[in-house]
């Protein structure tokens, strides 16, 4: 044996999916199709223990997500626990349930930052989010958050329905007072994958969007930080998904399952443990789910001999699972994948056909 022992780094971020409950019904939701019910959710004490364990093993940032994390009555307590543990806390929210009192509570608890999703520049986005009246509530919550001193990222969700208004979405973020915006083309997992044909933009729309973003970055330097995520079906190289499997991130689902990313449960044959069965450290360093695709030893060709293998780490395991049927293959978003051309052609055809058949997120 001449294998070099893999030096496993401690995780830097925890995605805490507190609940799958949500008043929105977004077509692009990345949650699994089989949503976890409220009866199976972890209780407050268990979440606080998870937060403490995470900080002890080296986690620096916690992202409260869901579903809609503000559905949980104990969110403030969990933010307080994160602050006590020295974690940087980020709230990923639709904002439709936030009011002035709740925001003050969260600010007092030490919330570092909030990120609000916007489906468009006005009510037109509500067909995507599935909740009438949502846009106005989001605008109100954004103003209240800023008033309370919590910095704001506007998460501009991009589909073919609004991609031609990306400039207006950037203008809206500036007008709101956000200092950062994510121009987030939908990533096709979970409900988004089910709705891909109804959401994916054409390559021509993508090219125009990329030009708009590039120009805005110049013009808004020092005013608005713009992060840009493209749908990687149209990329040459796959995204460095999660910065590498089980390299930086871990995710705890509402029922306490510990997974390397929010879509990992879609991978057939991986065994997941819960925080009730094992300590986070043990799961991170030793479990089947975390060790299976960590590093580069698992890689087949074209990844194994690729000089980018420690840049993009083979792309996304869940995307390989969804599109190729095998999580152990190269992500077909990569142009070196034998499946790349087929996947791209499929995406282009779906975008061109433009069939708006919507499957709203719901409990089965």
């Amino acid at each position: 044996m001449n294998a070099i022992p893999l030096k496993v780094e401690a995780p830097v971020a925890l995605l805490a999916e507190l609940t799958h409950r949500c008043p929105m019904r977004c077509l692009y939701c990345s949650n699994p199709l089989e949503l976890e019910r409220s009866a199976s959710e972890l209780d407050t004490a268990t979440w606080i223990d998870v937060i403490d364990q995470a900080a002890q093993i080296g986690v620096l940032q916690i992202h409260f997500s869901g579903g809609e994390p503000t559905v949980r009555k104990d969110l403030t307590q969990l933010v307080e626990a994160s602050t006590r543990a020295g974690l940087y806390s980020n709230l990923i929210t639709s904002a439709v349930l936030l009011d002035k009192d709740r925001i003050k509570e969260l600010a007092d608890a030490g919330l570092s930052h909030a990120q609000i999703s916007f489906q468009d520049v006005d009510e037109r986005g509500e067909v995507i989010g599935g909740l009438p009246g949502a846009h106005k509530k989001k605008l109100e919550a954004a103003a209240l958050l800023l008033e309370s001193g919590i910095a704001l990222t506007s998460n501009a969700i991009v589909t073919r329905h609004n991609i031609d208004r990306v400039q207006e979405m950037l203008d809206m973020a500036v007008a709101l007072g956000a200092r950062r915006v994510e121009v987030a083309n939908v990533q096709y997992y979970g409900w988004a994958l089910k709705n891909r044909a109804a959401l994916i933009p054409t390559p021509e729309q993508m090219d125009r969007c990329t030009q708009v973003v590039a120009a805005a970055r110049e013009k808004l330097k020092g005013i608005l930080v713009i992060d840009y995520v493209i749908p990687d079906y149209y990329a040459k190289h796959p995204k460095s998904c999660m910065g590498g499997w089980a390299k930086r991130f871990l995710n705890v689902t509402p029922s306490g399952r510990v997974v390397p990313c929010h879509a990992a449960e879609s991978i057939v044959g991986l065994n997941f443990q819960t925080v009730k069965e094992a300590r986070l450290a043990d799961i991170w360093y030793n479990s089947d789910a975390f060790t299976r695709y960590r590093g580069t030893a698992w890689m087949p060709e074209p990844c194994a001999s690729c000089d980018r293998k420690e840049i993009d780490w083979g792309g996304c395991r869940c995307q390989a699972m969804a599109l190729v049927g095998d999580a152990g293959q190269a992500d077909p978003a990569c142009e070196l994948s034998p499946f790349h051309d087929r996947v791209r052609a499929m995406a282009e055809a779906e975008a061109r056909d433009g069939v708006d058949e919507f499957h709203y997120r719901q409990f089965q």
Partner: protein, 95 residues
């Protein structure tokens, strides 16, 4: 609309609420925590940021560093202003 902050030596800068500069004990290094970002400042940046306390002017930080590292003030000033401008452009330091 907000305007770009241009860093000058007479300014007093600090970290806004959503930016945390702290020591990462688990890895024995300094980090800047920001929305969806983890920055690893180099030794020079750490020396500057440790003196950025929200009450000292940039010029004062330059003086301290020039004395401590026994280096020409002019060189230090250029480095400090450039680094802070870079962080200001990312919204990571504010008046």
């Amino acid at each position: 609309m907000a305007e770009r902050l241009i860093v000058r030596e007479d300014m007093v800068l600090g970290f806004p609420r959503h930016i945390t500069f702290r020591h990462d004990d688990a890895r024995d290094r300094w980090v800047i925590l920001a929305p969806e970002r983890l920055l690893l400042p180099d030794d020079t940046a750490v020396a500057i940021l440790q003196r950025l306390d929200g009450s000292r002017a940039v010029a004062h930080i330059v003086d301290l560093l020039a004395e401590e590292f026994n280096a020409p003030r002019q060189d230090i000033a250029a480095d400090v202003v450039a680094m802070l401008q870079d962080l200001a452009d990312k919204g990571m330091v504010t008046p």
